[in-house]
Symmetry: C2
Subunit: 297 residues, 2 copies
C-alpha cells in the first residue's frame, strides 16, 4: 500500500482457515507475496480476518466492545515465523458479552477492519453501519468506537434454503433486474419487517405459491420471482431485527460488495431509510492503513 | 384393517415419491402387500400422502378448504392398474388460496388424513390441531371441517442448521433429558415467541455463546445445551406465527410422534396452553377408516 492508501499490487489465494493448518500459513503467504519482499530488512505485513482465530494461524484475542477503531493494532498478535524478511501482525476481532444493557454474545473477525476503514475516513463517525454477507453485521459506532453490534445468519440461511431445502424445486436465478423481481423483493422485505413471526410460514408459502398461484408467470420468470421473494424474506427478517436501532437513525452506512449493497439499499430505502455506501474492499484497505499508523513498534 | 379399526398386519417400504417413477408404484405396493391379497376379487387399497401428488403415482387433485374431513374420499383418484386383484384409491391433499380473510397459499398431503383421524374420533371437532414435523402444519377445524391451515418449515430449517450451517461446530446431541436442556429449550421458546424478529441474530448468537460464555458447561453438556436452545428457537418461531390463532383457543391437539409431541407439549405448556395428544400413526389409520366408510363405489 502506498502512503496515500492506494494498493500498489494485489495477490489472491483461495486458501484460508478451513483448509490451512497453522504451519501452512507462512508458506502460503510467501507464495502470494514472496516476490514483493526486499532481500534485507523486515517488511511489516498486517493481516485481518480468520487468520487471527484460534483455529487459524495464531490467535489474536478478541477485543471487547466498546472498542476504538483507530486502536485495533493494540490487540495485534505476532505468529512465530521462519522467514527473516517477514514481520507479521494479526489484527484482533471484536467480541461482545451479555450485559444489562441488552447486549448479547457476539463476535466479528475481519469486519472490524472494514469498520476501521469507515473510521479512517471519518475519525469521529457516529451512526449505524451494516456489513451484508454470510453473517451480516450491524454495528453502532460512537465517536469512532464500536459500542455494540449484532450478527445475523442471513446469507447462510438464504444459501441453505436455496440449495438444500424443498424450496430449491421452486427457485431460479436470483436477479433483481428480471421483470417484476424488484417489486417481489421489496414486497417480501416489507411483509416480514412488519410481521417477522410469519417468516417460517412464508418460506413454505413460496413452495405452495409455486404449486397454486395462477397469477405468477411460468418458467424462468416464475422461479426468478420466487427467488427474489426469498431474498426479500431473509433480508426483511434481518431488518426487523434492527428495527429499534433503525428507529434512532435517519441513515445507514452500507459496507460491502456492490451487488449486496444494492440489494440492502433497495430494502432500506423501501422502509424509508437513507443509505451511504462504502466499498467493502476499499474499506479493508483503509482499515489496514489506519491500523498500520497505530502499530506498536 | 379390521372393522373396528385395528391394524391386522403391517408392511413398510422406504420407497416413495423421491425414488419411484409412476409405473414403479404398483410393483412396489405388490412387493409389500401382495401376499395379503385374495386370489379372486378386487381388494380396496386406500392410499394417502405423496403417492397422490403430481410427481407421484397418479394425481389426486387438492381439495380446497374449507373441506369436510369425513368426505376426503370424494376427491380420491384411481391410478391405472395391471393387477386385477387391486382397487387403489389415492386420497387427495388439501390446498388453500390467498383470500381476503388473510389465508395464504398452502398445501398439505397426508396430514389431512391424520386430521380425518381426529374427526373419526370426534366428528364435530372444532379447535386447533398441530402436526409437528419437517413441514409442521397448524389447522383450524370447525365442526369436522378444515377451514384454514398454515405450514411452517420448522423441522427442515432445524435440520439444515444442525447439519449444514456454521452452528454445526457448536451443537451436540439434542436430548431434552440431559441436564438443564429442558430449561434451555423452554427459555429459547419464550424468547423467540416474544421477539421473533431476533430469530436470525439468536441463531448466530449460539455460535458466539459457544465461543464466549464461561458460564456454560464444557464438552457434551455444552453442545447439548446449545442444541436444545436451537430447537427452542425454531419451535418458538413457529409458535409466534400462530400467536393469533392460539389467543382464541385454550388448548391444542397435537398429532404426531411421541418425541416431537413431547417437545411441542413442553413449549405450549410453557406459554400457558393445554394440550391433547393423538398418536400420528393411530391418526392415519383412523383417518383411512373414515375415508373408507365414505368411499364412492
Amino acid at each position: 500500500m502506498s502512503d496515500s492508501g492506494e494498493a500498489l499490487a494485489r495477490a489472491d489465494s483461495d486458501r484460508g482457515m478451513l483448509t490451512l493448518t497453522a504451519p501452512e500459513y507462512e508458506p502460503t503467504l510467501l507464495r502470494a507475496i514472496g516476490d514483493w519482499l526486499p532481500r534485507s530488512g523486515r517488511t511489516p505485513v498486517l493481516v485481518c480476518g480468520m487468520a487471527g482465530a484460534r483455529q487459524g494461524w495464531h490467535e489474536a484475542a478478541y477485543l471487547p466492545v466498546p472498542a476504538r477503531l483507530d486502536d485495533l493494532a493494540r490487540g495485534a498478535a505476532s505468529p512465530p515465523l521462519d522467514d527473516p524478511r517477514l514481520d507479521v501482525r494479526l489484527l484482533p476481532g471484536l467480541c461482545q458479552r451479555r450485559d444489562a444493557d441488552g447486549r448479547t454474545f457476539d463476535v466479528m473477525r475481519g469486519e472490524e477492519t472494514q469498520l476501521a476503514g469507515l473510521a479512517a475516513r471519518e475519525p469521529h463517525f457516529s451512526g449505524l453501519a451494516c456489513l451484508p454477507g454470510t453473517h451480516a453485521k450491524w454495528a453502532r459506532l460512537e465517536a469512532g468506537a464500536v459500542t455494540r453490534f449484532k450478527t445475523f445468519l442471513t446469507g447462510e440461511l438464504y444459501r441453505l434454503l436455496v440449495s438444500q431445502s424443498v424450496l430449491r424445486y421452486s427457485l431460479g436465478e436470483d436477479d433483481l433486474n428480471a421483470p417484476d423481481c424488484r417489486e417481489a423483493f421489496v414486497d417480501a422485505v416489507r411483509e416480514i419487517e412488519a410481521a417477522p413471526e410469519s417468516f417460517s410460514a412464508r418460506l413454505f408459502g413460496l413452495r405452495a405459491q409455486d404449486l397454486l398461484d395462477d397469477a405468477l408467470p411460468v418458467g424462468d420468470a416464475r422461479s426468478a420471482r420466487l427467488a427474489a421473494r426469498l431474498s426479500g424474506l431473509a433480508i426483511g427478517l434481518e431488518l426487523a431485527g434492527v428495527r429499534q436501532a433503525l428507529s434512532m437513525e435517519r441513515s445507514v452506512t452500507l459496507i460491502g460488495t456492490e451487488t449486496l449493497s444494492d440489494r440492502y439499499a433497495l430494502a432500506l430505502q423501501a422502509l424509508g431509510h437513507a443509505v451511504q455506501r462504502l466499498d467493502g474492499s476499499a474499506a479493508v484497505l483503509a482499515g489496514l492503513g489506519l491500523a498500520r499508523a497505530s502499530l506498536p513498534t
